[in-house]
């Protein structure tokens, strides 16, 4: 059997570096390299796409690629400890072997966004898929208008990608970062907003004119962010989000991740609000 075209057999990769994103340790970023350079060359990802990560003996999970293809190596995956595979991944160390196959799914329609202002709205680990497209647009900034990043988490300690949030992105021309947290513990240092992301978004109130809003986060946050964006007169076509359902094959056969006649693994994960409204509401 010709394994290079066999989508279900992963390629071997090595974890080169692991960083803890949150102080509770529930989110880690894994820096990963394919063992065979030619397999890296075949892996052509765009922002928003995902990969199936294997922990052999435990299973596979579909994980968004958090690094931008404009900064190709190593590949980065920011992963929250949730189920069997992600828990085992969190126990792994530098040098451990994993399997990767992909990239899968569609990507953020970055070409359609040329010349537009971009508003990224993220919550918690939802910044992981957004980070790939944020860095992509920053690296091709000449193609886009202003970039606003509105991001929140439960507490200051739970913010992911702190270096970029505090040191890198705010210092770039035409890029604004707005941060909020649900609550601050006594004694914790925090001089930015306190409150939920949707309300904070309405306070900032970015203009819908020539803009695209891209949101990713916990389902409950997305639900209220969508309502806020509608209130702020963003059209359904101007709003982009991502969906996630249980997946086992990643390529449209195993039958788990359908919403109506769409499979999130191949037709998603990126959908416009217009597309989502046309789907059966079952996700």
């Amino acid at each position: 059997m010709c394994s290079s075209h066999n989508q279900l057999v992963p390629k071997v990769a090595t974890i080169k570096k692991i960083t803890e994103e949150t102080s509770s340790g529930d989110v880690k970023t894994f820096y990963v390299e394919f063992d065979k350079p030619e397999e890296r060359a075949e892996f052509k990802n765009m922002p928003g796409q995902c990969a199936m990560i294997s922990v052999l003996g435990v299973g596979e999970s579909m994980i968004s690629i958090t690094s931008s293809p404009t900064r190709p190596d190593p590949l980065e995956f920011s992963i929250k400890k949730m189920g069997k595979v992600t828990s085992k991944l969190h126990d792994m160390s530098v040098g451990s072997k994993i399997g990767i196959r992909g990239p899968y799914g569609n990507n953020f329609p970055v070409d359609e966004w040329r010349g537009k202002d971009l508003v990224f709205i993220g919550g918690g680990i939802g910044l992981a898929p957004l980070r790939s497209v944020i860095n992509y647009c920053i690296d091709k900034k000449e193609n886009y208008g202003s970039i606003s990043i509105i991001y929140g988490s439960r507490s200051p300690a739970d913010l992911c990608f702190k270096e970029e949030l505090f040191d890198n992105w705010p210092n770039l021309e035409g890029v604004e970062v707005h941060l909020t947290v649900d609550k601050v513990e006594e004694g914790e240092r925090w001089d930015k907003s306190v409150g939920f992301v949707p309300q904070y978004l309405e306070q900032i109130s970015p203009s819908p004119n020539n803009s695209i809003a891209i949101t990713c986060g916990p389902p409950i946050m997305i639900k209220y962010v969508l309502e806020s964006l509608e209130k702020m007169k963003f059209e359904d076509e101007q709003i982009i989000t991502t969906l996630e359902l249980k997946m086992q094959c990643g390529v449209g056969y195993c039958g788990r991740c359908n919403i109506g006649d769409k499979y999130v693994c191949i037709d998603g994960p990126v959908f416009s609000y217009k597309q989502i409204k046309e789907m059966p509401q079952e996700f």
């Binding site: 394994s3 066999n6 279900l8 057999v9 079952e282």
Partner: protein, 337 residues
């Protein structure tokens, strides 16, 4: 047109087995199944439908996807060895037609399924037309018939003591040519073939309106789903016996540092099928899962591939312990909408 004597079938199977695996209809404890045959005298025609369908030959219930060695430090991953050529004999026309629906899923998308593709390329389907459809059959609702040739390489039409042989594909033609001594050219005899093709099944008048999928679009919240879900036991029989259902689960089996990854059929009727890490379940009760099964077959699949995902074999009807009948669903929706 060729004929094949019934008494020559064992001989044909034996000869074919020299180079291929033979899956044929055989009887085990009173149940007819399609199974790998070693004794070629054991083939039978004593069935309306085999308990399993020809799907098993190309998409087996359990199969190894790969082996791995030393998961931690020097990981090696190995795909399975090439499969053997295979012939399925005694397939029913509906089941052969179901393969075309599986082809849509496994071969026609952006990614093809290597395991399925290889088995299909190395497989030949020899179908026997149905002499006597039973009360569960409704293939004629899907533009098929007891004599349909869709998905078959060869169709055998039974007469008193021989089969009339219709070669459907090049593959089928070659098989007959390579085994010419067992076949006999008797000139044209199409009227027997026509009589099979014109036969109607008992439930044949469950005519499916062309726009059923369109009508179903707006019926996501129809209370009918709740009504039929109430008696569903969630046993999954309907999905396991279905020749068109393709859902599967992937699981790793570890032995120390080594192990294998396998896939096994799975069912949308099971509670944990859609369950995500973090315990979110978009289809938490049998109501959503019952709706998912019928909407997939009658709406989503049709939207995606322009075909209904059912060929009217009647297995789900025969095997459902609580009488949930896809033809009833179609009739109900047709009348209500």
């Amino acid at each position: 047109m060729n004929k094949l004597l019934r008494s020559n079938v064992s001989c044909l199977l034996k000869k074919l087995s020299e180079h291929t695996e033979i899956y044929a209809s055989t009887e085990e404890d009173g149940v007819c199944i399609l199974a790998k045959l070693d004794n070629y005298e054991e083939w039978t025609m004593n069935y309306v439908r085999t308990a399993n369908s020809v799907k098993d030959v190309f998409f087996p219930q359990n199969e190894e996807i790969m082996k791995y060695k030393d998961a931690s430090s020097d990981l090696k991953i190995e795909a399975p060895k090439p499969f053997k050529e295979r012939i399925a004999f005694g397939v029913r026309p509906c089941d052969a037609a179901a393969m075309l629906l599986l082809d849509d899923v496994f071969l026609k998308g952006e990614f093809y399924d290597s395991y399925y593709k290889e088995r299909r390329e190395k497989g030949t389907i020899i179908t026997i037309a149905c002499e006597k459809p039973d009360q569960h059959c409704f293939c004629t609702s899907f533009d098929l018939s007891p004599g349909a040739t869709e998905g078959s390489d060869i169709v055998l039409y039974p007469t008193e003591d021989f089969f009339l042989v219709v070669e459907v594909t090049e593959k089928g033609k070659k098989l007959i040519k390579d085994n010419a001594e067992l076949f006999e050219d008797i000139g044209a005899k199409p009227e027997i073939v026509d009589s099979y093709k014109n036969m109607r099944t008992v439930l044949g008048d469950v005519c499916i309106p062309n726009d059923l999928n369109e009508k179903l679009k707006g019926e996501f919240d129809n209370s009918y789903w709740k009504k039929i879900a109430r008696r569903c036991l969630g046993c999954g029989n309907c999905t396991f016996v279905c020749p068109t259902c393709h859902c599967f689960a992937v699981c790793d089996v570890a032995r120390g540092c080594d192990g294998k990854r396998a896939r096994t059929w799975d069912s949308c009727k099971f509670q944990d099928f859609f369950l995500m890490a973090g315990d979110h379940n978009p289809r938490p009760t049998q109501i959503e899962r019952t709706r998912q099964r019928f909407m997939h077959k009658l709406n989503y699949f049709k939207e995606k591939y322009d075909k209904y995902q059912c060929i009217g074999c009647g297995r789900c009807v025969e095997k459902c312990p609580v009488g949930v009948h896809i033809a009833d669903v179609i009739t109900h929706m047709k009348e209500e909408l």
